[in-house]
């Protein structure tokens, strides 16, 4: 086509180099994304809003989330405390806002650690194949024989409580997913002729993996990572709920739900409703954003991730 219409390339050439900076390019990509799937863009904005809430928590929270106020204990939502207070008078709204910090840090940490490690492992498995691959697959199978929450619970319990522990525990449960998906991608890539050509030119293994195979794995990795953020948030909340998450007094959504059960025979509804709604909204936002990214980058992966 470009041969019959040589002018088509001209407008591009007229754009000054400055305008093609990475920022503008990113904005353009985002605009195209938003135009193609407005729903995902909306949920992307919600996710961005939640991330902003976590970063700006000290500025947004009306009160200190750990400060007890014995004049206002277990009060339902009012003008003073929009989301009510818990049994020792801590402001639920502030705790929900601060809770996003723990959730997002753990989820991001676990995915960055676990999914990335799994992905690199999967890359090596798919690329080298052979005995290394067979042994690795067995090992991944062992990891997958545990329901993920149970494995995370056992690891978190064995390592002792703390944020780092929770991140590691959830990260380990994410390894098999990254490994499986990326391995499958690499196996199909390996057969492509451009990879064969590179091998024919005498590229080293490291160069082959880094220059020719890795870039093709970025899209599936991104999709996988966004989807698993949601899963990691739910596992973190469940760990907190079961008392093996981040220890109190750090406010996390899971801890708040566990606390509400200790608030008396009947948990006050505002202590149950708001933290859970925060979990649901966050997971929903990341899941739908992940779906949107998948459809935009690689619709073939539908169902695989």
């Amino acid at each position: 086509m470009s041969i019959t219409q040589p002018d088509a390339t001209l407008p591009l050439a007229r754009i000054p180099a400055v305008e093609r900076s990475w920022l503008l390019r990113a904005l353009r990509v985002l605009r195209t994304f938003a135009r193609r799937s407005p729903m995902s863009a909306f949920w992307g904005c919600v996710a961005a809003g939640i991330i902003f809430m976590a970063v700006a928590a000290p500025a947004l929270a009306p009160r200190d989330p750990t400060r007890a106020d014995f004049r206002h204990m277990a009060k339902p939502p009012s003008e003073l405390n929009w989301f009510g207070t818990d049994q020792i008078g801590r402001d639920t709204l502030s705790r929900v806002i601060y809770g996003s910090r723990a959730s997002l840090t753990v989820a991001a940490g676990a995915v960055l650690l676990g999914t990335t490690f799994g992905a690199l492992w999967g890359l090596a498995c798919g690329y080298f194949g052979g005995r290394f691959d067979i042994i690795s697959q067995r090992f991944i199978e062992f990891l997958q024989s545990f329901p993920d929450l149970i494995l995370a619970m056992a690891i978190a319990m064995a390592l002792g409580v703390g944020m780092g522990t929770v991140i590691v525990a959830i990260a380990i449960t994410r390894i098999p997913f990254g490994g499986r998906v990326i391995r499958a991608v690499v196996l199909s890539l390996k057969e492509l002729s451009y990879v064969e050509a590179a091998r024919g030119l005498g590229a080293s293994h490291l160069r082959m993996m880094a220059r020719h195979i890795l870039p093709q794995c970025v899209a599936p990795y991104l999709i996988l990572a966004t989807t698993h953020l949601g899963v990691a948030i739910i596992i973190e909340a469940a760990l907190g709920f079961l008392g093996v998450g981040i220890p109190p007094p750090t406010p996390t959504w899971g801890n708040m739900l566990a606390d509400s059960l200790n608030a008396g025979l009947v948990p006050p509804w505002w202590l149950v409703l708001f933290p859970g709604a925060a979990i649901t909204l966050t997971v929903l936002a990341f899941n739908l954003l992940g779906d949107g990214i998948r459809d935009a980058l690689d619709p073939r992966l539908r169902g695989a991730v």
Partner: protein, 318 residues
């Protein structure tokens, strides 16, 4: 078929062995002192070194790890499974008493998930991108995001405030008192079932949409069968194969999910026992329960694999 069954069982045996080693490694070798768990950090510092060594020997924790591991394997094979740190009941007795309730919850939830998920998927797949399809897709995406234990807490609260109703807290089997047994079981089963139904509806929808495009479905339509017969008798059986596999994977979701959900409902099942063991840092109970849950998960998945191989001969020869 027999060779496939044998191969699958052999893999299963290796997996069970691997799982037992991973469980043992995680709970014994990783740092964390069981005596701190039993006596608390404060009580632990008050123990003399001799007392510590004495307790460790009494619990069998001062032997070499390999000895401990084989002793545990022996315990599993004889079925005694060791004792809790804090209760006189042996782990085997606990499983016998509490297990049936959780098994019942899991079974009912799986049935519920199919009863809800498949019809929703059929309605969606018959008219893709219609209003009904979009609604059902949004609801299933919503259910993927809702933590089960939160839904459980909301249900408990709603029943309590709306109707002044609370499910009985006693542990009764179906055969002694079916009515109160069902009241205990139905809540957790419903919550876990809806969570699975969301996954099943998504998977069945996309699988149906794929199958509907196949030639043999077009042939069935071309010979004049009406749409419902084509879907029910021709498309659905083939579309359900991946759903069966998914249902097996989701069992992990049920087993793990039953822990926080039983905690939220106060159901006296195995999940609640696991919660108690975790909050008491009871290593022996944890070790056996984690192993039991994983074994059940592995065995059920072997069963699922065999079922799909039986239904689809192509799998056997792969």
């Amino acid at each position: 078929m027999y060779s496939y069954i044998l191969r699958r069982l052999a893999f299963g045996a290796v997996t069970v062995l691997g799982v037992s080693i991973v469980v043992f490694f995680v709970l014994r070798v990783l740092p964390g002192d069981p005596l701190v768990a039993i006596f608390g950090p404060e009580g632990f510092t008050k123990l003399t070194p001799e007392a510590r060594a004495g307790y460790m020997a009494q619990l069998g924790l001062s032997d070499p790890l390999i000895v401990q591991y084989f002793r545990w394997v022996g315990d599993i094979l004889t079925g005694s499974l060791g004792h809790s740190f804090f209760r006189s009941e042996s782990v085997a007795e606990m499983i016998e008493r509490r297990g049936p309730l959780t098994a019942e919850i899991a079974a009912i939830s799986v049935v519920l998930s199919w009863l809800v998920g498949i019809p929703v998927a059929i309605v969606s797949a018959l008219r893709p991108n219609s209003f009904g399809d979009n609604i059902s897709r949004f609801i299933s995406i919503l259910f993927l995001a809702v933590p089960g234990f939160w839904l459980a807490m909301l249900i408990v609260l709603a029943l309590l405030f709306g109707f002044g109703y609370r499910a009985p807290l006693a542990n009764v089997t179906f055969f002694t008192d079916p009515l109160s047994n069902l009241q205990i079981v139905i809540g957790p089963a419903l919550v876990l079932g809806m969570g699975q139904a969301a996954y099943i509806a998504r998977m069945a929808r996309s699988s149906l949409l794929e199958v509907v495009r196949e030639d043999y479905v077009r042939t069935a339509r071309a010979k004049g069968l009406n749409g419902r017969v084509v879907i029910a008798l021709h498309a659905l059986p083939n579309a359900l194969l991946p759903v069966i596999t998914l249902s097996g994977i989701l069992l992990g979701f049920v087993l793990a999910g039953s822990i926080p959900v039983e905690r939220a409902f106060g159901t006296p099942g195995l999940g609640y026992a696991m919660y108690t063991a975790v909050s008491e840092r009871d290593i022996f109970v944890m070790q056996n329960l984690v192993f039991l849950y994983s074994i059940v998960f592995v065995l059920l998945n072997i069963l699922v694999d065999l079922t799909s191989a039986w239904l689809d001969p192509r799998i056997r020869y792969r």
